[in-house]
Amino acid sequence: MNTDPRFEQRFAAALTGIASTGEPDGLLESVLTTVSHTRMRPRWLALIKEPPMRIHSRVAAGSPMLRLVAVLILTMLLAIVATGAVVTGASLLPGTTIVVAQDGSGTVRTITAAVAMAEDGHTILVRPGTYHESIVISEDITLRGDGDPGAVILEFANTDDATWTAPPDPGFTTESEPVTYGIVLNDTDAHLENITVRGQITADPEFIVAAVIIDGGAPVIEKVDVVLDGKPYPDDYGCHPG
């Protein structure tokens, strides 16, 4: 497409002409008051990439008949889900609960296996125990510890097999670099609840360790404790970006 430098110059000048100058009364004070009550996040606890900037358009509802069919299907699904079935096979339905238990009494024995099975809307219920794993969640699921957060522990190792590479991001990282993780929430609106994530900080200060990485999406994290080098990390980590 052709450009018109004169038009663009005039537009730039006009834009500057209508731009506000100065700040609204009280805005800075309001910001600083909020900041005074806001704790800083440690970098190595969670590497945050803000959700991608997409304006999600509403999907226009179809014809009345289509809407009726949709309501009927939804009603049938809700009726099935209402049975609270815990299934052990494939073709899991929304609302399905997958139980993880190390003693074999659940659906699977590892969280990794449960995550591999789970799809949007599913719940993974993890029975008490220490699970030596690193997991990546990319679906909109709920991962919930069964009972007290201290009883359900995901312990991750600093290994090359479990690194997440964050894309370059102005201000954050000047180049892509691997981060060792316990849990990656990868562009998901997942819920993470009632679980302890445990790991070790390496001696190399340049090596980044993140108990939980939020890479896009708008996950909800509740009652998640982080323990690094045997010490609980007392951070208000119930963050909900976006």
């Binding site: 910001v31 900041v35 800083m40 803000e50 304006i55 954050f172």
Partner: protein, 185 residues
């Protein structure tokens, strides 16, 4: 000086942060106001951006990237506010052309009619406005704009051209002597 303040703020020095915020807040508010076209929402977006900046300051590795980072956080906050409005069913972000005034707008006038330009901006999508504001108001290169918006450079360029085309269509051809013609609306 700014670099030193950023370093202090990153270490948890709220006073340093307040100086940095005070130095940036007018620019950020102007950007947010141009993108959102709503003063109240612009204030909310700037507040959200600056609080995010404080909360995640320790993640800021490049001390010289402070301004770029704030721009990014502010634009992202604008998108979030626009999205919230969209979810609440507010759909005034893109206005329908007004037949009575479309085609009568001329940047060449000595005194630009503020209401007219704001109306023309309202005909653009937020994607187009964000690119135009970052490129023409902040003077950022398209590659930087694309980085802030998390889109390929080609997409940023396309939004820029489409936005300009919409505005150009609204312009009355200048009269022979270079002065704008009288308005007929």
């Amino acid at each position: 000086m700014q670099r030193e303040l950023v370093e202090r703020a990153r270490s948890g020095d709220r006073e340093a942060f307040s100086i940095l915020a005070g130095a940036s807040i007018s620019r950020l508010y102007a950007v947010a106001n141009l993108i959102l076209r709503d003063g109240d929402r612009a204030q909310d977006a700037v507040q959200e951006a600056l609080v995010s900046a404080w909360r995640d300051m320790r993640a800021l590795r490049d001390l010289d990237a402070w301004d770029a980072w704030l721009n990014r956080l502010t634009v992202r906050a604008c998108y979030r506010w626009a999205r919230r409005e969209r979810r609440r069913g507010v759909v005034e972000l893109q206005l329908e052309p007004d037949d009575d005034v479309a085609g009568t707008f001329d940047f060449a006038r000595d005194l630009v009619d503020r209401d007219d330009l704001e109306r023309e901006l309202g005909r653009l999508t937020i994607d187009q406005r964000a690119v135009l504001v970052l490129h023409f108001y902040l003077g950022l290169q398209l590659a930087e704009v694309a980085g802030i918006l998390d889109v390929p450079v080609g997409t940023a360029k396309s939004r820029l051209h489409r936005g300009l085309a919409v505005l150009r269509d609204s312009m009355r051809p200048p009269s022979v002597d270079g002065l704008s013609a009288e308005r007929t609306a």
